[in-house]
């Protein structure tokens, strides 16, 4: 029989100490607060909006404006974004018929919706709102189920080419919490009570509109050509 390995007991002690240190670190990681939180129902100051009324896509001279009140964590909004919006963009926005205005309307039932809206606002600071907006919607099923979505959004910030340090600072500051709340308040005042809701020609449409219905609504609002 081979002789016992010298110093084996000491090794077990060291290994046990390493194991204890590892367990302590894991316990710390489980217990530490998770990520950025964007306050809800903040008092909106005039400086929060400073004239900002949503994210615009399309020609400022377009004859029809469509405002979409949406929530990044709402499955119906994701559905509209992925299925209907590409046609809307191609047929109505790119052709100069429609100016699209995206308004945040994060619902209380969706825990990460406000953080997602803030992540998109921080991307807007670096002129990458629509890139971040599309990526957040495209990966909704991924970030919706994590505990700390802000860490996932930080990865997305890198993916869309943002200066991640600047983006992270923006997220930590929660500086757009008031602006998001202002958008929610305005939506409530207009009568929005679910997402997505569309404001077209002064009328609210709370059902998910297909691109065909939208096209018909927009066509009806277009100025008639003079004979």
């Amino acid at each position: 029989m081979a002789a016992p390995t010298p110093g084996l007991n000491r090794f077990y002690l060291v290994l046990g100490a390493v194991a204890l240190a590892g367990i302590a670190w894991l316990v710390y990681q489980v217990g530490k607060p998770s990520g950025v939180s964007i306050p809800v129902n903040v008092t909106v100051l005039a400086a929060d909006t400073a004239g900002f009324r949503g994210y615009l896509m399309g020609s400022p001279d377009a004859p029809v404006e469509v405002s979409e009140f949406a929530d990044y964590q709402c499955p119906a909004c994701e559905n509209f974004e992925s299925i209907q919006f590409p046609s809307v963009q191609e047929q109505l926005i790119a052709t100069g018929m429609v100016r699209w205005r995206y308004r945040d309307f994060p619902l209380e039932m969706h825990p990460h919706a406000r953080v997602a809206a803030h992540a998109a606002a921080c991307a807007d600071e670096q002129s990458k709102f629509w890139e971040m907006h599309s990526l957040i919607y495209a990966r909704q099923s991924v970030w919706s189920r994590v505990r700390n979505a802000s860490a996932v959004f930080s990865d997305y910030a890198g993916e869309v080419g943002l200066d991640v340090n600047r983006y992270d600072e923006c997220m930590k500051s929660a500086k757009y919490a008031g602006r998001i709340q202002a958008s929610v308040d305005e939506g409530i005042k207009l009568g929005v009570n679910g997402t997505p809701t569309f404001l077209i020609g002064g009328r609210l449409y709370s059902n998910v509109l297909g691109s065909d219905s939208l096209r018909a609504l927009v066509r009806a609002l277009l100025p008639k050509p003079t004979q």
Binding site: M1, A19, G158
Partner: protein
């Protein structure tokens, strides 16, 4: 001893990843890497099982085998060392596959996965070295 220490390190990495995956940890300490992107990708599951969980079991078995191999009664037949070499060899191949997925499918690199890859390669190297030391039974 080296294999046991490395297996313990690998076990903690795998547990850390798994705790994140099941939502017990809010965010991964990842520096500038894209750990969340990798961990939340569809490729983080293999045949319906979380890759991190496979890691937890794999490293736990290797730790057990490494501790057994240190016992003098296993010095002769040395089946724990042989099993360790086989298991870590398979793990190296699996890690190579996962690294391929990170680079060419997910297009993101997770530093913890790189750490785990380094650990498993070292374990495999040490287990091969240990095999050479073991007298082959005739």
């Amino acid at each position: 001893m080296g294999i046991a220490t490395l297996s313990l390190a690998g076990l903690f990495i795998a547990i850390y990843m798994y705790l994140y995956k099941i939502g017990k940890i809010g965010s991964l300490v990842c520096g500038t890497g894209a750990c969340e992107t990798v961990q939340l990708s569809p490729q983080a599951r293999f045949l319906g099982v979380e890759v991190a969980l496979i890691g937890v079991f794999g490293y736990a078995v290797m730790l057990l085998l490494a501790l057994l191999a240190l016992q003098s009664r296993f010095a002769g037949p040395a089946w724990p060392s042989r099993l360790l070499a086989i298991l870590s060899g398979v793990a190296v191949l699996f890690t190579a596959y996962l690294t391929y997925l990170e680079l060419f499918v997910i297009h993101a690199i997770c530093r913890w996965c790189v750490g785990s890859a380094a650990v498993i390669i070292l374990i495999f190297g040490l287990s091969l070295r240990d095999l050479r030391r073991v007298p082959v039974a005739s």
